[in-house]
């Protein structure tokens, strides 16, 4: 008898994919473990903001170790980096950045302020999260003090959370040449000056990203042995590539590598799971109606379809009926630093 006989419908293209779209597909995700009651941390590229928001709307225990000041409206708080993730680190696009932040928070890496304090127009910014202070700070010392405060909070997040959800976003990254410190985005986008003698571009490889994620896992477990991890890959394409090739080629390379790393890790380790948000939105098989006309921004309906799959899987079979808050965020309200690159595209 053929080994395929008797397999569930989802395992065959004809019955698993052909009749469905992204918002009707069934059983695309089988969670490794339940997440109810877990203290959850979220981080990653800007698509991860959607995950955090949807989980908070459904009353999951998403930690917030850097809460917004009382009374301030959510929109303004978001502009200052509050409420987007469990800590105020802004978007973390690469595994290397997550690892670097973790090493800093655990006191294993000390970065000279000269490598991250940026001055622009008399105001000072943290190169690792330049958007969290939209008006900058008044002195380099204040940037350093804020970073110290942030690292302390991030360390507490690592020790408190039961589940760390991370959305892998990019493989392309900018480094400080001599120290190999990685920046959140291209340095010129924040300081207004790019120095080819100091900075370099690299496209991280499968082995590097896998190694970075494993080192992050190992470090996190040194202070929180019970921590588990849930990986996703952002479906949002690159705004621009620094490689001398077509941006679509770079996008597919980047996402393929990240998807492969996530698969490798979740298939190897019991404490790492993978949720296929990427498959739901970024393959042509389930329809292409979930991107805006720019073919990059995921529509609200797409986000909801993805998150519904996630929550349905965790709820068992019955769909959850929880409504997302009515004030759906526009593209502008999801804070994406890499969208800045679009400003440099030819007109």
């Amino acid at each position: 008898m053929l080994p395929y006989v008797g397999l569930p419908a989802r395992q065959f293209w004809k019955t698993g994919v052909q009749p469905f779209s992204s918002d009707t597909i069934q059983e695309i995700y089988s969670p490794k473990w339940p997440i109810d009651g877990l203290r959850i941390a979220t981080a990653g590229s800007c698509f991860a903001q959607e995950i955090a928001r949807a989980m908070r709307a459904r009353r999951y225990n998403v930690l917030d170790v850097e809460p917004k000041p009382p009374g301030i409206p959510e929109k303004i708080a978001n502009q200052y980096g509050y409420g987007l993730y469990s800590a105020r680190h802004g978007n973390i696009y690469t595994a290397r950045h997550l690892l670097q932040l973790t090493r800093e928070a655990l006191g294993l890496l000390e970065i000279s302020p000269s490598l991250y304090v940026l001055e622009n127009g008399g105001r000072y910014y943290d190169a690792f999260r330049p958007k969290v202070e939209p008006n900058g700070l008044s002195s380099a010392e204040e940037v350093i003090e804020q970073r110290h405060d942030h690292l302390k909070r991030f360390r507490s997040l690592l020790s408190e959370c039961d589940l760390f959800i991370f959305t892998l976003g990019l493989t392309e990254a900018w480094f400080h040449k001599d120290t190999q410190i990685v920046y959140q985005i291209a340095p010129a986008l924040t300081s207004g000056a790019y120095d080819p003698n100091q900075n370099e571009f690299r496209n991280l490889r499968f082995s590097e990203i896998r190694s970075d994620m494993l080192e992050f896992r190992d470090l996190a477990k040194t202070i929180n042995p019970g921590m588990r991890f849930l990986l996703t890959v952002s479906p949002v394409p690159l705004t621009a590539t620094a490689l001398p090739q077509h941006v679509l080629v770079s996008t597919v390379r980047s996402k393929s590598v990240l998807r492969a790393v996530a698969g490798e890790l979740s298939e190897t380790y019991d404490d790492i799971d993978y949720f296929p948000s990427f498959e739901l939105l970024s393959t042509p098989f389930l329809g292409n109606g979930f991107f805006e006309d720019n073919k990059r921004t995921v529509r609200r309906s797409g986000v909801e379809a993805v998150m519904r799959s996630f929550f349905d899987a965790h709820a068992g079979i019955k769909p959850t009926q929880v409504e997302l808050p009515s004030e759906a965020k526009t593209e502008e309200e999801v804070v994406c630093e890499d969208a800045l690159l679009e400003a440099f595209a030819p007109r």
């Binding site: 850097e66 809460p67 000041p69 009382p70 009374g71 301030i72 409206p73 303004i76 200052y80 202070e133 939209p134 008006n135 700070l137 008044s138 204040e142 003090e145 804020q146 110290h148 405060d149 909070r153």
Partner: protein
């Protein structure tokens, strides 16, 4: 007969209960209390020249305590009670978040920039439900006097609680007071009436006995505040507040009025 609309949040309870105690001495005054919990009085709107709640919960409270589902434009005076205007919200911000000049690594507060502090304070004070209500009242009437009564200062006993220890920070108190004074200076078309002197313990606190047996208003019932709540005051406090306001607008209690006319 002088008709007054008294709009407020939980702090309206003290004024309402105080009014119940003294209204016998003001036979020529009626007061309608329009209340909503916490910041819900931010959710009001003007329709057809009247102020309506936008939530069913607040509408219920309007009906329960004022007997009307909206605030009419023909009252002789409007009182705005609490609703987030005062020193307490500004100080509460410092309980959890501090700008560099007040930040110490050891005390656990989150470090925020001066820029975010400014945004936060504006959200708390300039965009408070009290200021919003003032704008709405001025939309429906330009004639009647509007009197603003701030959130009461906390009971002096707050200093005995670990969570309230930051209230002993003189620099914090002075900084918040300066900000509040500037905000008061920017108010227009309103008579700002500070907390009655007779209720104060020093400059920044309320005498402890005014926080005993305080009540919170809820639709159709009245319940005690949480044990040890230093922020809500009782009927005696409300009576002080009303007496001061009535004197401010030239209304005297009946016995005093009779004595003066004699």
């Amino acid at each position: 007969m002088i008709r007054i609309a008294c709009l407020g949040n939980s702090h309206n309870a003290a004024v309402k209960l105080g009014w119940d105690e003294i209204k016998g001495t003001y036979p020529n005054i009626t007061v309608d209390f329009f209340s909503g919990a916490a910041n819900s009085m931010k959710g009001l709107e003007v329709k057809g020249g009247r102020i309506y709640p936008t939530s069913e919960q607040v509408r219920e409270m309007f009906l329960a305590y004022a007997g009307h589902d909206s605030v009419a434009p023909d009252y002789d005076a409007y009182f705005l009670v609490g609703m987030g205007f005062g020193l307490v919200p500004l100080m509460s911000l410092f309980a959890t978040h501090r700008p560099p000049r007040f930040y110490y690594r050891e005390d656990g507060a989150h470090l925020i920039s001066e820029s975010l502090l400014t945004e936060s304070r504006a959200s708390l004070i300039e965009r408070s439900p009290a200021v919003n209500c003032l704008r709405l009242v001025r939309t429906i009437t330009s004639e009647a006097p509007v009197l603003m009564i701030p959130n009461p200062l906390p009971s002096i006993e707050i200093l005995q609680t670990p969570a309230g220890s930051y209230w002993s920070g003189q620099e914090l108190l002075e900084d918040c007071t300066e900000y509040l004074d500037r905000a008061i200076g920017k108010l227009t078309d309103v008579i700002y009436t500070p907390q009655p002197r007779g209720t104060l313990e020093g400059e920044y606190f309320t005498k402890a006995h005014f926080a005993k047996d305080a009540r919170l208003l809820k639709p159709r019932w009245t319940r005690p505040t949480n044990e040890g709540d230093p922020y809500h005051m009782n009927a005696a406090y409300g009576a002080h507040v009303l007496s001061q306001i009535f004197a401010h607008i030239g209304v005297l209690p009946s016995q005093q009025a009779e004595a003066e006319s004699a």
